[in-house]
């Protein structure tokens, strides 16, 4: 049997999960976790060069390859961060060795589920994979077993389940719409076949299906008003999981939504999906920007910032057209890299200070200069200041909107500015001023954080033409 990278990005995490569940000793398992994530990433990179033929269940095309490479890359860097983070949790007794073993196994299961959702060529398989990813993250969020963590996990569980249930109803409706044209059976659930025949589907049924899918997968993306689970889940779980949730899982749900949007866009009689996404995107952006002011917990604050950015991305894809889609893809990539870097920093900050309350932190740039300035750089990036990558993508979103719908652009810019001011207000307390709280040295590995920030900085200054060309191709594909 020849080597199939498409199956390998699923098999490596699945096999690693099995091994990690059985192996004792956290140093060894943490290293194995990194190794498995690295192997998955390298395999994903090989998909760039040789692309297998799409089958009835799996496929790799121009759109999902971007997501796959990004997911496996951040999965790898997060596993490196997790290895340095988790030792401290063990020392302070927040996690027991048994739970740690479980944690590593679950990490690989999550990587498996996300990769499966991305390479799935079948709307049913994609749904099952996203459900699996939800379940694993629920278990991870509740892993500290404190009152707060359990409540966060429960809330996430219930809201996530309702979302996933609505998404299934939408999926069934898509199948119903496809059967008169394609015929019964597996073919009517395969993406490549669905997209080819989308123009012949019954438009009214597609419309209703999309509403359910937007509500269902939108819950997982964290779009307001379905975002209620997101801040709790981010704040109470282990920080590596917050990084993966924000940086990756939200993207995976968004990817599912984009696929269905392409289906609707291919049918001229169906409702235009754009305005729906633009509205939810703008509402999420403005709402989250205002919510940023009231936050006192550092991880909750960045969770709201994730809602804000998912809003911007949904807005950009909703606007559609080559330029806005390009901006949306770029923004998604930049946000994933930056937000996970911020969570890497925040994880160590919370460990040093022994709390997540912003009021108990202060003068971080004096006491822990590397960590402090890393966090400052991350916040500067996420707030969208030049010359970092998010500035480029936000600038593109704003300018492309100004050219087509100036009023929407005004709301967009307003939301961005409100969010920016809130972030700097809080950053001022955390990073500068008089040192507050414990000032111990952090036993951290700074490599993942600065690697991400360096990538964001490079993307902000110089984008390789090959990459631009690629993004442009995908943007055209999205319609």
């Amino acid at each position: 049997m020849s080597f199939d990278p498409m199956a390998a990005i699923l098999l490596i995490p699945a096999a690693a999960a099995g091994c990690l569940a059985l192996m004792p000793g956290y140093r060894l398992t943490a290293r194995l976790n990194v190794l498995a994530a690295l192997a998955t990433f390298l395999t994903a990179l090989s998909l760039l060069f040789s692309r297998p033929q799409p089958g009835p269940y799996l496929q790799v095309d121009d759109l999902n390859i971007v997501f796959i490479v990004l997911t496996t890359f951040i999965g790898f860097t997060t596993s490196v961060f997790s290895a340095s983070y988790i030792g401290h949790e063990l020392d302070t007794g927040r996690l027991t060795p048994t739970f740690l073993r479980f944690y590593h196994a679950m990490y690989q299961v999550l990587m498996f589920a996300m990769n499966l959702a991305l390479v799935a060529n079948n709307i049913g398989v994609m749904w099952v994979a996203i459900e699996l990813a939800t379940l694993t993250t629920v278990l991870m969020v509740g892993i500290y077993r404190t009152h707060e963590a359990l409540e966060a996990a429960w809330k996430y569980f219930i809201l996530g389940s309702v979302g996933i249930a609505l998404a299934l109803f939408g999926t069934i409706l898509i199948y119903m719409a496809a059967t008169p044209v394609i015929g019964e059976g597996t073919d009517a659930m395969v993406w490549t076949i669905l997209t080819a025949h989308a123009s012949e589907f019954e438009p009214a049924l597609l419309n209703v299906a999309f509403v359910f899918l937007l509500l269902g997968y939108g819950t997982k993306v964290g779009l307001a008003p379905l975002h209620a689970w997101l801040p709790d889940a981010h704040a109470e779980g282990p920080t590596p999981i917050s990084a993966v949730l924000s940086g990756l899982l939200l993207n995976v749900a968004l990817y599912a939504l984009l696929r269905f949007k392409m289906l609707l866009a291919a049918n001229p009689q169906a409702l235009a999906p754009g305005p729906l996404m633009v509205t939810t995107g703008l509402v999420s952006l403005v709402f989250a920007a205002f919510m940023l002011y009231r936050r006192r917990d550092i991880k909750r604050m960045f969770a709201y910032s994730s809602i804000e950015h998912m809003g911007i991305i949904a807005f950009a894809f909703g606007m559609g057209g080559p330029l806005a889609n390009f901006a949306g893809l770029l923004h998604m990539t930049m946000h994933s890299l930056t937000k996970s870097a911020i969570f890497f920093a925040v994880g160590h900050v919370a460990q040093v200070k022994g709390t997540q309350r912003i009021a108990d932190m202060g003068g971080l740039t004096e006491t822990n200069p590397v960590l402090g300035w890393g966090l400052v750089l991350g916040v500067v990036a996420i707030a969208g200041l030049p010359p970092l990558g998010i500035f480029t993508s936000e600038f593109l979103v704003v300018t492309s909107t100004f050219a087509r719908a100036p009023w929407l652009a005004v709301i967009l810019v307003f939301g961005l500015l409100v969010g920016l001011a809130a972030l700097f207000l809080r950053l001022n307390t955390i990073a500068f001023g008089e040192p507050r709280g414990p000032t111990a040295k952090a036993e951290a590995s700074y490599v993942p954080m600065f690697a991400h920030l360096a990538l964001v900085l490079i993307a902000g200054i110089y984008m390789p033409p090959a990459l631009v060309l690629w993004f442009q191709n995908v943007a055209k594909l999205l319609g």
């Binding site: 049913g124 249930a165 709790d232």
Partner: protein, 220 residues
């Protein structure tokens, strides 16, 4: 024969909606659980009929799961849990029976209007089934938002999920139905274990402001 197949399927799906209404006005937890067992039983019958009518033997597996797991194991387990937690007599009133029933009727009307209008091309059997399924889903959602107790929220979620299984079996020849019903069973089993292990009694936006303060991490 065609007429009979259609009529029985129609009858069973309609009964499922009716039982959803019965669930909606129960105010004692143990009575609610009995109603849920009935709900799952009707679902099992309905799925089995679809399996027979569509000549799709794999759907019998889904029917068996619904019967054994949802109509027997889960209600029994939940009965024991609420006895343990001492909440079997609990009476909860978040929204009165009258408004809840009116809202429920509105939702059923809505799903009929929406689904029958958009599926004019589809097979009449699937079409009616889908309209009923959406009603059951919406009634389940209504139950989740009008209840405060974690157990009855879970019952709401499970009846919502019954509606989805009905929809999936109604869509003729849909692959992965069995897999999906297994996936859902795992989800539900986890929820029930979660309730048992963590003794969750109340929904978290309870009126207990102190608890709210604590878990939001927003204390000053």
């Amino acid at each position: 024969m065609r007429g009979l197949t259609f009529d029985v399927a129609h009858l069973l799906a309609g009964t499922l909606v009716l039982v959803s209404f019965l669930e909606l006005y129960q105010d004692r937890l143990s009575a609610l659980l009995n109603m849920f067992a009935l709900h799952a039983f009707v679902l099992a019958l309905s799925v089995a009929w679809q399996a027979y009518a569509q000549h799709a033997p794999h759907l019998f597996v889904t029917a068996a799961i619904a019967l054994v797991f949802k109509a027997i194991i889960i209600p029994v387990a939940l009965h024991r849990i609420i006895m343990r937690l001492g909440i079997h007599r609990e009476i909860e009133k978040v929204v009165g029976v009258g408004p809840a029933m009116l809202l429920g009727m509105g939702l059923v009307a809505l799903s009929m209007v929406v689904m029958l209008r958009v599926t004019t091309e589809a097979d009449p059997l699937a079409r009616e089934d889908l309209a009923f399924a959406l009603s059951v889903v919406l009634l389940g959602l209504l139950m989740m938002v009008t209840r405060r107790n974690a157990v009855s929220q879970v019952v709401g979620f499970m009846s919502l999920e019954n509606g989805l299984v009905l929809a999936a079996t109604g869509a003729k020849g849909m692959p992965l139905v069995v897999e999906i019903s297994v996936a859902f069973s795992i989800l539900i089993a986890l929820i029930v274990i979660g309730i048992f292990l963590f003794r969750i009694r109340e929904r978290f936006d309870s009126v207990d402001l102190q608890a709210l303060d604590r878990f939001r991490g927003e204390r000053r």
